[in-house]
Symmetry: C2
Subunit: 174 residues, 2 copies
DNA sequence: TATTGTTATACTCTATAACTATA
DNA sequence: TATAGTTATAGAGTATAACAATA
C-alpha cells in the first residue's frame, strides 16, 4: 500500500521527510549551526576546527597527509594554513626528510585556541546527547559511519597513507 | 577516564569520529554522492530534485511558499525555476488571487522527469536500507528529525504558512 | 616520472540589499 | 507598510589544471 498525504497543503514536503539524504542534510545544517553558535568568537567554522584539531593531535603532519585525512583538496588547504599563520595559530616548518613537504605545528596560541574550541565542542555535543540520549547518540554515530561506506572504496580515513596520489580520494568536504 | 589514541599516526582524525557534526557531514556527502550517481542523466542534483518533488506534490504552489517549505532564499530559487522553464520541466503561471505571486506547475515532461528521479531515488534508498536495515533506517530518520530541533524555533516545516516574512526562517540549504 | 605545495580559476550553494509591482 | 518576485553581488566550499621544486 502506498503512502499518500491526506492534505497536500499541510504536508508540502510530502515524502521528503522519509528521504535519508534530505533529512541528513537538514540535520547536518542544524548541527553545524549549533556548533557555530557554541564557538563564540573562536576560530569557529567547522572545517577549520577540524584542521586545527588534526594538527593539534598530529604535530608535524604534512599538508598532504592532512588533506588525505580530512578529504580536502591540497589546493584548498593552502588558504586555510595561510590564515592560521597570519593569526599565529599554526606554523609551517621545513621537513627534515623531504624538502618539498611542510610540517605543521600549532603555536601555543593555537593550542589554547584549540582547547577553547574543544571545550565549546563539549557543550555542543552535550546538547546533542540531551536530545538523543547517550545510547541514541552512540547508535547514530554507528549508523553514520555505516553510511560513509556507501561510495564504494573511498572515504578518506580508509585509504592508506602511501596510496599513490592518482588513486587517492581527497574529494569533498572540509 | 580520558580517551587518547594509542598511536596518533594510525588515527590521524583523533576524536573527530566521535563528533556528531563531523560524521553527519561525512555521511551526508557520501549519501548525496550515491544519490547523484543513482540519478543517471536526470535533473540530478539533490536540491533541484527537492524543488521538483515539492512542485509535483503541490501544483500551484507559489515561489514563496516553496521557499518556506524547503528553507531556500527567495532570491536563490529564481535561477532554479528559470532553468526548469528553460528545460520545459515547469511553468510559472499568474496567480488569480494575487497578481504578485507566481504559481508553479510541472509540465508533462516535468512530471515524467520527476517520476524517473523518484524511481532512481527508490533504488538509492534501497541501498541505504541494505546498509542500515529497515529498522535501523527508521531509527536514523527519527534521530535526524530530532537533531533538526536544535536551532530553537526555526526549521522550515514548523513555521506556519502565514508567519510574517520578518519572522520566517528561510535560511540554509536547498 | 611522481609528489608537494602553490597559483589561478571556475562552479555551486548560500546570504544580503535593494528594486518593482502589487497588496 | 508589507509581501512576491527579481536583480546584483558577495562569500563560503569545492573542483581542475598547471607550474616549480624536489623525490
Amino acid at each position: 500500500m502506498k503512502r499518500r498525504p491526506k492534505d497536500p497543503a499541510a504536508e508540502p514536503l510530502g515524502d521528503l521527510h522519509q528521504h535519508v539524504g534530505y533529512m541528513l542534510r537538514r540535520a547536518q545544517l542544524a548541527v553545524f549551526a549549533d556548533f557555530i553558535a557554541s564557538q563564540r568568537g573562536s576560530v569557529a567554522r567547522p572545517g577549520q576546527f577540524s584542521v586545527l584539531a588534526v594538527i593539534g593531535r598530529n604535530p608535524g603532519i604534512t599538508q598532504s597527509q592532512l588533506c588525505a585525512a580530512l578529504s580536502v583538496k591540497r589546493a584548498n588547504l593552502v588558504a586555510v594554513i595561510d590564515r592560521f599563520e597570519a593569526l599565529d595559530l599554526a606554523r609551517r616548518e621545513a621537513s627534515s626528510s623531504d624538502r618539498r613537504a611542510n610540517c605543521l605545528r600549532l603555536t601555543s596560541l593555537g593550542q589554547r585556541a584549540l582547547q577553547h574550541a574543544l571545550d565549546a565542542q563539549d557543550e555542543h555535543e552535550a546538547r546533542i546527547t540531551r536530545l538523543l540520549g547517550s545510547a541514541g547518540r552512540r547508535t547514530l554515530l554507528k549508523q553514520l559511519a555505516a553510511l560513509c561506506e556507501l561510495e564504494g572504496p573511498g572515504r578518506a580515513a580508509s585509504s592508506s597513507p602511501n596510496t599513490p596520489e592518482s588513486l587517492r580520494r581527497e574529494s569533498f568536504a572540509i
